[in-house]
C-alpha cells in the first residue's frame, strides 16, 4: 500500500475501526472435506441475484408497464435497443439458473444437516429467500404480457380464489380486480421491482450476516474427529478465488445460453383468445401444477385446488421449521428419518416435474 493508500486507510480506521474487520476476515476459514463442493452454491445464487439486479435495472430504462405498452416495450428492447436482446435474455436465463442454484443450495444444506443448531435462523431466512425468489419468478413472468404469461397468471392466481371465506377478496387484491388485466400487470410490476427487492435485500443481508458471524458449518462427522484431523482453507484468498472462478464460469454459461437460446417473447396476450395448446408453467412450478392436475375436483368436501394449496403450505411450513423438529438420535448425529423425508421430497418433486413435462 502506498503512502496515500495508508493515509486513506487510517482515515477510515480512525472513524470506523475497519482494522478489526479486516483482521476478522483474514482469519476466516472454510472447512475442507469431500462435501465442500456444496459450499459454492450459496455464492452462485448470490452472484445470479446480483446479475438479476443489474440486468433488471437496465431493463427498467425501456420497459413501460401497461396493457398497451408492456409487450410493445419488451419487443422494442429485444429488437431496437442495442444489446437489448442480450440483457433481456440474460435476465430470463439468470432468473431460471438462480432458482435452480437456490434449490441445489437448499437440498445440499438439508442433506448435510447444516441447518442444525446454531444455524436454525440461517435456514429459516434461506427458506424465505426461496419463497421470495419464486414470487419474483411468478411476478416477473407476467411482465412481458404475452399469451403464455397471461394464462399462467390467470391459473396461478385463480388458485387463491379457492381459499374459503377470504379467497375471493384476496384474489381481487392480488389481481387488482376481478380479472387479469392491466391492473394486475401494474400490481405485479410494483411487486417485482419495488416490494420484493426491498424485502429480499433485508432478508439476504440477515442470511449473510448469520453466516459471517457463525462461519461455514462443519460436517456432523467432524464431531468425532480430533481437531488436528480437521482441514481448513483460508477464505481469503483461497476460497474466494475459487468462488470467483466459478462465477466467471457461470457468467460464460449465461452468455452462451443467452446468445444461442435467446428467450422468446411469443404472441401478445389476448384476453379473448383461447388458451394456447401445450401451455405449462415455468419448470419450478411444474411439480405443484402436476399435483393439482392429478387431484380430483373434491377431496373430502374441500375443493381440489384448495386441498393442494393446503398440503403445499403445510409441507412448506414443516420444511422451514425442520431445524426445530429434527432431533439428534441417541447414537449421535444421524437421524435417518430426516434423510428419508428429504429423499421423498426430492424424488416427488423430480417425478412430478418430469410427468408435468411428458404428460399432456
Amino acid at each position: 500500500m502506498g503512502v496515500l493508500g495508508e493515509k486513506f486507510f487510517n482515515w477510515f480506521d480512525e472513524r470506523y475501526k475497519i482494522r478489526s474487520f479486516i483482521e476478522f476476515m483474514s482469519h476466516k476459514t472454510v472447512p475442507w472435506h469431500r462435501h465442500s463442493i456444496w459450499y459454492y452454491f450459496g455464492g452462485v445464487s448470490l452472484f445470479l441475484f446480483i446479475i438479476q439486479v443489474v440486468t433488471g435495472i437496465l431493463l427498467l430504462l425501456y420497459y413501460r408497464v401497461g396493457e398497451d405498452s408492456s409487450y410493445e416495450s419488451v419487443q422494442f428492447i429485444v429488437s431496437k435497443v442495442k444489446f437489448g436482446w442480450l440483457i433481456r435474455s440474460i435476465h430470463s436465463w439468470s432468473a431460471n439458473l438462480m432458482i435452480l442454484a437456490v434449490f441445489i443450495h437448499m437440498f445440499s444444506v438439508y442433506f448435510t444437516k447444516a441447518y442444525r443448531k446454531p444455524r436454525e435462523l440461517t435456514w429459516v431466512t434461506g427458506f424465505l429467500l426461496l419463497i421470495f425468489s419464486l414470487t419474483f419468478g411468478f411476478s416477473g413472468y407476467l411482465l412481458p404480457w404475452n399469451e403464455l404469461a397471461f394464462f399462467a397468471t390467470k391459473v396461478g392466481t385463480e388458485i387463491i380464489g379457492s381459499i374459503p371465506v377470504i379467497g375471493k377478496e384476496l384474489l381481487r387484491i392480488v389481481r387488482g380486480g376481478e380479472d387479469v388485466t392491466g391492473a394486475t400487470l401494474a400490481r405485479f410490476f410494483g411487486l417485482h421491482v419495488a416490494i420484493l427487492p426491498g424485502i429480499f435485500t433485508v432478508i439476504l443481508f440477515l442470511h449473510l450476516l448469520f453466516i459471517q458471524i457463525q462461519g461455514m458449518s462443519e460436517p456432523p462427522e467432524w464431531e468425532k474427529l480430533p481437531p488436528e484431523k480437521r482441514k481448513y482453507i483460508p477464505f481469503f484468498p483461497n476460497f474466494l478465488l475459487r468462488d470467483l472462478l466459478l462465477w466467471l464460469i457461470i457468467l460464460n454459461i449465461l452468455a452462451i445460453l443467452a446468445v444461442f437460446f435467446p428467450w422468446e417473447l411469443g404472441k401478445k396476450a389476448d384476453p379473448f383468445a383461447p388458451a394456447p395448446a401445450g401451455i405449462k408453467p415455468e419448470w419450478y412450478f411444474l411439480f405443484m401444477y402436476q399435483t393439482l392436475k392429478l387431484l380430483p375436483a373434491k377431496v373430502l368436501f374441500i375443493e381440489g385446488e384448495f386441498f393442494g394449496l393446503l398440503i403445499f403450505t403445510v409441507a412448506g411450513i414443516l420444511w422451514m421449521l425442520v431445524p426445530f423438529w429434527d432431533v439428534k438420535t441417541d447414537k449421535g448425529y444421524r437421524n435417518r428419518l430426516i434423510n428419508y423425508i428429504g429423499l421423498f421430497v426430492l424424488i416427488y418433486m423430480l417425478t412430478m416435474t418430469i410427468l408435468g413435462y411428458v404428460l399432456d
Binding site: V155, I159, A275, D360
Partner: protein, 147 residues
C-alpha cells in the same frame, strides 16, 4: 399495600398504552388494506350481443366472442346448428376452445374436456360451462343470457 397499589396503577397505564398502540396500528393498517383492495367497478350488465351473420361461421368450427368483459364460445355443429357457452373454464378460469378433431370443447391449461352440450366429461373441470341462448333474427345471430 402501597406497592400493590403502585403496581396496579402501572399495569393500568401499560394497558392503556398497549391498547393505544393497538388502536394506532389498526388506524394505520386499515386504510392501507382498504387502499389495496380495488374498488368494485359497476359493470354494465350485458344481456345480449350480436356476433355476426350466419354465413360468417362455417359448420364444424368454434369462435370466441366478447360477452361483456368475458369471452364466450359460439360453436356451429356439423349439422349447422348453433350453440353458445361461456368460454371461461369452470376449473381455473382459462379460455376454452372448440376442437373439431375431438368433437368436444377443450381447455388447454389442464386438459379439461366438455361435450358439445357444455357438460364437463373429463379432466379437472368441476362444473358444466354456462350455456347461452342463440337467437337468430333474419341472418343475424344474437347471443343472450338466460334470465
Amino acid at each position: 399495600m402501597n406497592s400493590d397499589f403502585k403496581r396496579s396503577r402501572r399495569d393500568f397505564l401499560s394497558y392503556i398504552l398497549g391498547f393505544g398502540f393497538l388502536g394506532w396500528l389498526v388506524s394505520v393498517l386499515y386504510p392501507i388494506f382498504r387502499y389495496i383492495n380495488p374498488p368494485k367497478m359497476p359493470e354494465a350488465k350485458v344481456k345480449s350481443v350480436k356476433v355476426g351473420k350466419i354465413d360468417d361461421f362455417k359448420p364444424g368450427t368454434g369462435t370466441i366472442f366478447k360477452f361483456g368483459s368475458k369471452p364466450g364460445l359460439l360453436i356451429r355443429l356439423e349439422t349447422g346448428e348453433f350453440r353458445a357457452f361461456s368460454a371461461v373454464c369452470t376449473h381455473l378460469d382459462c379460455t376454452v376452445q372448440y376442437r373439431s378433431d375431438m368433437k368436444a370443447i377443450w381447455c388447454a391449461c389442464h386438459n379439461g374436456k366438455y361435450d358439445l352440450n357444455g357438460r364437463n366429461i373429463s379432466g379437472p373441470p368441476p362444473r358444466p360451462l354456462e350455456a347461452f341462448r342463440v337467437v337468430i333474427k333474419g341472418d343475424e345471430i344474437y347471443i343472450t343470457k338466460e334470465g
